[in-house]
Symmetry: none
Subunit: 215 residues, 4 copies
């Protein structure tokens, strides 16, 4: 009963391979709740179900763990968005709608706390901030710019200044994400993020609509 020399990892290997992710997940959860400094590695270890020392087998120190958490979960996320955007063969309008709703959808997942973390710790982690700016902010910006240009070319939007428009498109969605990961638990009457986003798109697209030729 030896079967084929399977590529399936052994239990041990699989567990071993899973370690870094387990640790990163635990760390992300705690970082996003408490911030970088207030998170104790002992708690991360406990939550990940490993010993404290084990963390150091995979990450050289707390700072690098933080960086790993942010960097690891960032790119896949952004790439997903890019895929959404570029593979989409429909109108620019629809593409933007898809992108923003995808962004908002991260609210259900722990990674939605990453923007908050990066904003909070940018001063203490310049390298991370630079990485984030280059790999997330800038790429995200270019992504939106492409879509906006397509929309202009296709007559969906009037000929606005594209770089200046990007923040307008993104800001409400980002604000919803930040709100959700920080202050929303303390508000009495919570916003319905989906409604807000729908309304945003409505107002935005009216604002970007080509000017009606007067008869």
């Amino acid at each position: 009963m030896h079967g084929p020399p399977s590529n399936l990892p052994t239990r041990r290997t699989r567990r071993k391979d899973a370690r870094p992710s387990e640790i990163r997940e635990a760390a992300l959860a705690l970082f996003s709740e408490r911030g970088f400094a207030a998170t104790r590695l002992g708690d991360v270890a406990e939550r990940a179900g490993v010993g404290k020392g084990t963390i150091y087998l995979y990450f050289p120190n707390k700072e690098e763990l933080f960086r790993a958490v942010v960097r690891h979960d960032l790119l896949p996320n952004l790439e997903a968005l890019e895929a959404v955007a570029d593979s989409d063969a429909t109108t620019a309008t629809t593409t933007l709608r898809t992108i923003l709703f995808a962004l908002l959808a991260t609210c259900d997942r722990p990674i939605s706390a990453i923007p908050k973390l990066v904003i909070a710790e940018a001063g203490n982690f310049p390298a991370l901030a630079r990485f984030y700016v280059e790999e997330v902010t800038a790429r995200g910006r270019r992504l939106i710019e492409r879509v906006l240009r397509r929309g202009i070319e296709q007559g969906e939007f009037r000929a606005i200044d594209v770089p200046l428009t990007v923040p307008l498109v993104v800001a409400p969605a980002l604000m919803l994400v930040l709100w959700n990961t920080s202050l929303s638990p303390y508000a009495e009457a919570p916003l319905d993020p989906v409604k807000v986003l729908e309304h945003h798109l409505d107002v935005l697209f009216r604002g970007l609509a080509p000017i009606q030729p007067s008869p």
Copy 2:
């Protein structure tokens, strides 16, 4: 009427009275650079030009100093905005423009870091978060709502859902403030916040404009 009321503070008194502000200012500067936990009270003392122990003559502990910093600089700021908004006898459009530019103008002052601080530490300071939500977020929201309603009544805007519109109005300005206090130093081509805000208002007001009756 025996000559001038000699309530000029003595040198000593003046110095003493100034201490809390000096300390709060130093603390705000460091908190906004490094965040709450990464700021050492020793550094605050040094920056304020006082001894370490002096801080404790005016603030019972680090947390309360943090709260004092936030609370002290917040309300005057908001009240200034409210004054700007409500005393304004012009159109709602102009009022919104004034408010958002006033918000953006805080970027030159240290208080602009407070939103970032509160967002970052909300999880660790629930009472502060609640205070912020109630006294800043909620008041600010009501302020914008008033102006929007006025704009609708006066025919400047179409009959949009007011509460849902507030985030759209505010988000770009807030994002600019957050950007300025965190990631902007790491970006290569910095945004021109004034241009962004102008563009935002342009797009927004088009988006909110009453629907043209078709001829």
Copy 3:
């Protein structure tokens, strides 16, 4: 039944198990020399041969270390006395002699400083004081009372008021213990505690002796 039950502690385990005692012993020595407040945990750590942080692996804070020291060494001591007293099948006179000499004998051991410590810190540690009163003072009193009653029943002592007599029996021995742990190093001509105690017993037993019927 697979060979000897290998519950021999490993080197590591043994070391670990010994830590609390080592720390308590070091703490007792220093507390008894200097008192609670004047003892620095750094010194305790050094004396115990561990790092400062190690203390906190076993005791949550300085107060609890103090309590642990007192409580841990107290009861075994008292229980030893109770065993001495109750298992004794001889006369009450002999039993009292045994008890008091056992009490005096603690002077060779660090625990003899505990009464001094408790007396000195009772005001700052009400819970500890209460514990001491209930578990040591009261139990000790009842112990002596039992012996005195036996002595009266057996005609060794006259019918004195038992509760009032307890302090008379104990006071000289206690005073010797306090003297030994505080002032005796500063006295020129030290008392011989054994002689004092012998004399005490002689005078006491004469004082408690049944009244001779006059012929």
Copy 4:
């Protein structure tokens, strides 16, 4: 209306002269409650109704204040006892009774805490301990010895070893004083110190009584 150039101190002078005592009294009260280290000079100042700095006009530092408190109140007290003892023309028995009740009577006054304080801090204040041993313990011992010798000479006591007897005489009274200033608040059924002392004297004098010549 100038009157005679009175020697009565002016209000200011009187207040000034009283300062040191007021401070010492406040300090004694707090030292006896909390011990030396746990007493803050700020509290002493407040209780004495003076500014913190004022203490330093009369005492060079906390340690010297402590010494002054102990030394100041000690000798008058002891001298009073000596006067009681030596001026007494009655029997030795009566003299001892008077001395011990005078000792017990201090329990109503704050100075009764001094023995506790000295015992607790002897290790940290060797000079004070030596002073106490020489000026209080030794003098007190000699005082009692004189009375005991007189009692022996006058046939009130049998020919006991006088130095060995001193502790027996004093111990119960001292123990009552210590008990009163430390643990008694935590005991449920408080001792009646007067009854105990009466009983002590009764038992003691029987124990010291000359041996009855057998008929």
